[in-house]
């Protein structure tokens, strides 16, 4: 892990001079920009920027840098965030019975492709224990029924607090989180929906896809909002299917698409590459 690397994310109403001011500031502070993306949304002229830079002695110089940013932020009305790459996010994985997405994320994490701590896995079933065990991550089994939903969510929320979770990833977690849970958790929640949204919202999208006779099936990774399957989309992909594919084969083919799409979305989020903008996302990948 590069301890001198940090990321600066910012957004503001598009105004000339922002880039010059921010890059000049980083230059003066001795930072060396290694990656840079920017975008102005044509609809509302909102400006977005992500800068990745190296700064020798980052840890000790960070407060200085943050203070230097303040007048610039004031001048241009910036919303901004400065994150050392070494300060990795704490990610909780939620899963039900289908464990392919969980398995994929754990593999990639072990290979070093996902920059995160994973303090715990939460499941409403005990089945995932076997998958989780070799990775040395505790599985918290929190059963959920219609009757126990409120208390189960409270217990889950308590786990999130206790483990200081920054990000929840629903890796095929088949419970719908209440608006109350989403609000109280407060942080980002990424879900993988097993269809090309907005087609086939809700339950059994592969069965819906089979019934409609589509020629491609897809998966969508999105941030969770109170409205089901309607949050900002981070990533999508599809795979070709045909009349030979029964529903079970759509499920099997779809599993690969889900794994790929969720893994990309989570990696991008962990690297601060996804900037929400209303109900959409700007992805600097």
């Amino acid at each position: 892990m590069n301890t001198e690397r940090a990321r600066l994310l910012l957004t503001c109403a598009d105004r000339p001079g922002v880039v010059a001011a921010v890059t000049q500031l980083l230059y003066e502070q001795g930072a060396n920009v290694v990656d840079s993306h920017q975008h102005t949304e044509p609809d509302d002229l909102r400006f977005f920027m992500r800068l990745e830079f190296d700064l020798p002695g980052l840890e000790s110089r960070l407060p200085l840098l943050e203070r230097a940013m303040e007048p610039v932020a004031e001048r241009f009305g910036l919303q901004w965030r400065l994150t050392p790459a070494a300060r990795v996010k704490r990610m909780a994985l939620f899963v039900s019975k289908q464990d392919h997405c969980l398995q994929e994320l754990l593999w990639l994490w072990k290979k070093g492709e996902l920059a995160a701590h994973i303090p715990l896995v939460v499941s409403n079933h005990a089945d995932a224990r076997e998958v989780v065990a070799p990775f040395g991550i505790p599985l918290h089994h929190v059963p959920v029924t219609a009757e126990t939903k409120v208390s189960a969510e409270a217990a889950t929320l308590e786990l999130m607090r206790e483990h200081q979770v920054d990000l929840i990833v629903l890796a095929r977690y088949m419970q719908i989180l209440s608006g109350d849970f989403i609000t109280r958790f407060g942080g980002p929640i990424i879900n993988i929906h097993h269809s090309f949204l907005p087609a086939f919202v809700g339950a059994n999208p592969y069965a819906q896809a089979h019934t409609r006779g589509v020629k491609l099936i897809g998966a969508t990774a999105h941030y969770v909002t109170a409205e089901l399957d309607a949050g900002p989309i981070i990533e999508q992909d599809v795979h070709r299917v045909g009349h030979r594919n029964a529903v079970e084969e759509l499920v099997r083919i779809g599993r690969r698409v889900e794994r790929t799409v969720l893994a990309r979305a989570v990696a991008w989020h962990l690297e601060d590459r996804v900037l929400p903008h209303g109900n959409k996302t700007v992805v600097f990948a």
Copy 2:
């Protein structure tokens, strides 16, 4: 054009012995099978088959072959159709102002990639005249307003009869055909919808896609039924987009997807490769 080539399409409830009976019959008649596809739908055990074969002296021997099929069809409850490849379909193209799909089809047709006669192009605008002219195909300008819709459809239907049209292709024709027109025309109508159906049914799908923030845009070629954008899907494809793409760019990128998807669907239909099955299609491509 191979004058000895024909296609046999058939469907029936799946019963052992069908393939043996039909292939034995063709063998006895002296036909040489050059391409063969079959499929049994797992949901309802419906069986579908397409055989392409060469038979010397096809034209004179066709009635004989058809008579020989009758007892087999009777025995297995076959719905079947025998078509000489040389008997190409008569296809009418309908277009409004956007002419990219029209151009693509005309150009492929001229290259010999679409086996059809095109006796006429119908448009509710006069703009297409320039596109159509170099191909020597008459353009019939049939303006449509809310007031004249009934008479315009009647005139259009008369044109279809007069030109003995087998197939209508809506190559970005922005009028919704009435259920009455569809019924009275009686033949297949292929439409290109500029979204990945069932996402973004109806008007302005690219604007809908932009608003929803999808990461892929698509196009769908489908048979037209009385319910808008809900008929059997023949072909679909998508292309990746991102936050950099404004709506106009989605439109531009989408045009290429539309051209590709419609061209494939029409070619398959003309070669009798698309077998409708309820609200789905079996495509033997």
Copy 3:
């Protein structure tokens, strides 16, 4: 596992009447065909067919069926093979240090997506032990150096015999098998090459790809022959890359393509869907 299901694969010079004869025979024996593919290669008019069928009491009736096939095979010059689906192949996995393909295959196998016995994993490194352990499969560590190559191959060959291995899969095994090994093993060997063959034959294909500045990277699963990376291709796929991707990222992106491509190729082979034809393959997927 369906104990009544079997597959008939056959190839011959294309002659009218083959399909009729074979399907009639299966019908008379009481078999119910559930899947069927056929293909005539236009270059040399070679005919290929794969039939999947259910036959009640398969095990006891198989010898009868095979006897019935003999005169038909004689008459049409068929090469043919009849395999009960329940008689799954015995597959050995070979791996070096990169274990992503091994993991993918083991995981799909555990999910029931690969119909095989896996009696052993062979590696020239001990690293894979940790990956293999949770699956309960023995790892045989057979180190290979330039000096020990002959004896190592002999030991490996002995392992293959002992475990009655039908198929070897080189899941990123970085040793080149000698022509002698290939001949003496005698069975099919599937390799995953980490490029879109025939581009970038040999070592370090991602570095080669980076140097050439290609815009897509790929992977190729192929049968191994004595000539390096030149055997019949079973499956290929690619993924888009760009100037932002350093070699290490090509490697990372490529890993996903390799996993997907090898998994598809192995699954097809195990289900007898791949028919070699000279240096090419007919894939009935």
Copy 4:
């Protein structure tokens, strides 16, 4: 055409402060940046940047802006180029008998998707006349034989000079341009090669692909250098094929890929989005 819009392209050895200096300069001149890309090549730390901006009164203020750039360029060792968007490139299209790429480019040009003047089309055959005529562009028929190659190239070069051509696009021009021609023309030449380079260099790539039994066929748009099919790649794409596809079908399927790939590459070049870097390209699309 936006007469206030311009593009600044620059490259230099990566040094801190470049972005700050350049964006500050543009800000002081009153320019409003609307699109920005930058990239540092990890291999050699070469820095690339493309800025698109609006500047009221661009035409009269351009000399001022260029003078202001000089000290910055000096300080950072910049290679740079400032181009008003309204100063569109003059593009010559070269074609032989296969006219699908020519047709595609002319269509897109007429739709306004290619920002270029097309003063002439050059062909070694007269066949393209019919395609070119409706677009009102003169076709220069310059036959080439082994004997006349030198004089034909001289005549062609003269045409380029006369029409002040900035860019030559080889839209399936089946003559190999001599190193001498390339040098003397001096400007960029884009070729479409009908394979996924570096696979299948040279003649008849589809036949080569068919012989090798690949499962994807591709096309590559690249800048022409003296070494055949070895210049910097701008864009590539592929399409899936299988055992059913005879060579003629590979050709037909490939035509669509060629059209798409060449169109993208040409559009990017015309918008100054392609920056050559050694034998590779940085594409800011």
